[in-house]
């Protein structure tokens, strides 16, 4: 009747995740995020303002000022909010590899802390896109079983760190 045994777990000595100092991500990843924000801000700004400018110059009648105010306001608020989230959220982003699990924290307005036990990871993947190759960072993807969406992505790692975590996972799975 082994399956009925279930030893009590004493939580007193169990480290609380929130009190642990997480390892920050590479600053190269911050640059990449800032670059993405800048490009999207400019492109969205042009997409909003372009037609209005065209109408103002070549149209029969200039677009009403309220349209400028609405589009400009939406653009400023959304991009400003995104910038604030990136600026304030960056110091909070971090990961931690413990003996038995991997933890990743992200978000400023809405903070999420995800913990995935090693024993549940089915396979892993290291991904490096063109921007990652240029700036020197990669993303470690850890896949769990089934359709629950519990897969974990840790971006902004150096290739050496990602490989080390992967090696540690392999060692754990062989134990």
């Amino acid at each position: 009747m082994n399956h009925l045994k279930n030893a009590f777990v004493d939580l007193a000595d169990w480290p609380e995740l929130d009190e642990i100092q997480l390892v920050p991500l590479l600053s190269a990843y911050a640059k990449a995020r800032a670059l993405v924000w800048s490009v999207v801000t400019v492109v969205v700004g042009l997409a909003f303002s372009g037609p209005l400018v065209a109408i103002a110059f070549w149209g029969d009648k200039a677009p009403p000022r309220v349209l400028w105010l609405i589009f400009g306001g939406v653009w400023l608020l959304s991009m400003g909010w995104w910038a604030l989230e990136e600026w304030m959220g960056w110091p909070l982003r971090g990961y931690l590899v413990r003996d038995r699990d991997v933890v990743y924290r992200r978000g400023w307005w809405s903070r999420t802390i995800t913990a995935v036990p090693f024993t549940r990871i089915q396979h892993s993947e290291i991904q490096q896109g063109p921007m990652g190759r240029w700036l020197g960072y990669c993303t470690l993807k850890l896949y769990t079983a089934g359709a629950s969406g519990a897969n974990l992505e840790i971006p902004g790692l150096s290739m050496a760190t990602a490989r080390n975590i992967r090696r540690m996972l392999e060692d754990q799975s062989h134990e």
Binding site: N6, E16, W108, I113, A147
Partner: protein, 517 residues
């Protein structure tokens, strides 16, 4: 018994089933073309017909090639599948990765005496594997092979036929315990207690869609009716307005009963196998036109969900869904405590009463409750947030009425809507609670449609704690428990309770030494 150890094709009837299956998929994809063709004149419509004909030829050739290139066998403790027309694909599935095997038999398959087999492997992409046609006894033999758990590596390399015979012998010797044998009165109750609203919506949608045709037919018939009868019918026509909702409701109930009978006819559930040898599995057979035989090994069950409507509660019944690790598919996140997950190959059992629920709990969660249960409720803040959100969403209606009929009417409607929203939010809030014994979690939610989800923390995949800045000030947080069959949310818990629960759940996962899937 046919040899399943060497690569082999499906039964030749599989070609026909495959053709029907692919045609259905093609029709689903091509329905805009068909609608467009319908509205074209005869000259233009021929081009659409040509397109459809070419598509049909491709479907036929595709089905034939797929049938020819699809082979499978079981050997060396693995299920091997070879498929692909232009790109050859070889899939090797270790038998311990097989989560569930279901056998199905639709009308065409019954006609040819074959059945389809669906195998779920809980892969991270794509859905389950499907074999379209095997003889019934071969399908049973394949299922026995795929679901037989091996404890010893040596056993895995034995001849597969002897394994199947051994499994069959074990099963003959193993006790077979019936859980449910659905009788006709209970089956009718299941039909009566279905959610008829969806059928009503379907009926109204159908009427709206086909009203053009309906009017043409009515006008044609009307012209043939004698003038005296026309007068009588015109005199009685107001009655149609009164009776039409009743007729639609009766039609919906009838559809519910018919679909229930077709789906759950001769529903039988039993448990078979030895728990010590990890061969114990829950079996289900049902269906009138489309026969289904499902089997999920008990140790592979990842979560269980009970759900009920107010009608079903009148009959003291609810429906239970038993979920094994699911193949990658659609998973969404809800806005309140509950469980979401892919629907692929989920075992659904209607007509669960209190006794059967206790039996099922004892079977699937034998240690529940391990210790004294602790009840957790969301903070009162959850109620206020829900009330505010719902009321703000309804306020434009009141503003619209106020703009149209006057301020007093708007204020009156606003008061009614805010009161109704508050009452509803309170009901939903009170229906949301969770109990735990430190190893299992039983989460309840809902008021009109109630749900209860049970999971074993030993089988968790990940735990997620989320808190926005307003929640942080209010000292509440959300917890998400990921299992391989779906996600369970606990919302608006006190922050320290959420953190303790997360740490306890993770500790339970780490402390667990046995297999979990």
């Amino acid at each position: 018994m046919n040899d399943l150890t060497t690569p082999r094709r499906q039964h030749i009837a599989g070609l026909l089933v495959l053709l029907g299956w692919q045609s259905r998929h093609m029709l689903r994809a091509a329905w805009p073309i068909l609608i467009a063709a319908y509205f074209q004149n005869a000259n233009d419509a021929k081009y659409f017909l040509w397109t459809i004909s070419v598509g049909a030829v491709f479907t036929l050739v595709g089905a034939a090639l797929h049938f020819w290139r699809f082979t499978f066998n079981v050997s060396g403790g693995k299920f091997h599948v070879y498929k692909g027309v232009f790109v050859r694909e070889k899939i090797n599935i270790p038998l311990e990765r097989v989560q569930a095997v279901h056998i199905e038999q639709n009308l065409i398959q019954r006609l040819f005496g074959v059945s389809g087999v669906r195998v779920d492997t809980a892969g991270t992409s794509g859905s389950e594997l499907r074999i379209h046609a095997l003889k019934w006894d071969e399908a049973q033999a394949l299922r026995s092979l795929l679901t037989a758990e091996r404890s010893d590596a040596a056993v895995q390399h034995e001849k597969v036929n002897s394994e199947a015979e051994e499994t069959a012998t074990l099963k003959r010797l193993a006790p077979r315990r019936a859980l449910m044998d659905l009788d006709l009165p209970t089956l009718l109750k299941v039909g009566l207690s279905q959610n008829h609203l969806s059928k009503v919506a379907f009926a109204i949608g159908g009427l709206v869609t086909f009203q053009g045709f309906a009017w043409d037919i009515v006008a044609e018939l009307w012209a043939k009716v004698p003038s005296l009868w026309r007068t009588v019918l015109l005199f009685l026509s107001p009655l149609l307005l009164v009776f039409s909702p009743i007729l639609i409701a009766l039609g919906s109930v009838l559809i519910s009963i018919v679909t229930s009978v077709l789906r759950h006819w001769k529903l039988r559930i039993w448990v078979e196998g030895s728990k010590a040898k990890r061969t114990s599995a829950i079996h289900l057979t049902q269906g009138l036109l489309k026969r289904q035989a499902m089997q999920i090994p008990i140790h592979k069950v990842q979560s269980v969900m009970w759900e009920s409507t107010w009608i079903r509660r009148l009959f003291s019944m609810d429906t239970v869904h038993i979920r094994q690790a699911a193949a990658g598919g659609a998973v969404s996140s809800g806005d309140s405590g509950g469980m979401e997950g892919g629907n692929a190959m989920r075992m659904g059992i209607p007509a669960m009463n209190a006794t059967r629920t206790r039996q099922l709990e004892a079977l699937l969660f034998p240690t529940w409750p391990q210790r004294k249960l602790v009840t957790l409720r969301p903070e009162k803040y959850a109620f206020w947030v829900r009330w505010l959100r719902r009321s703000l969403a309804l306020t434009p209606f009141a503003m619209g009425l106020g703009w149209w009929l006057g301020v007093s009417w708007g204020v009156a409607l606003g008061a009614v809507l805010w009161t109704w929203s508050g009452w509803l939010s309170r009901k939903v809030y009170r229906g949301q609670w969770t109990t735990t014994d430190g190893r299992h979690l039983s989460a309840h939610q809902g008021w009109w449609f109630r749900k209860r989800v049970m999971i074993d923390w030993h089988k968790l995949q990940a735990v997620e704690l989320t808190q926005n800045r307003i929640h942080a000030r209010r000292n509440v947080a959300h917890l998400t428990f990921h299992t391989s069959s779906g996600v369970a949310h606990l919302r608006f818990l006190p922050t320290d309770v959420a953190r303790d629960l997360r740490d306890l759940a993770m500790a339970q996962v780490h402390a667990h030494r046995g297999p979990w899937m």
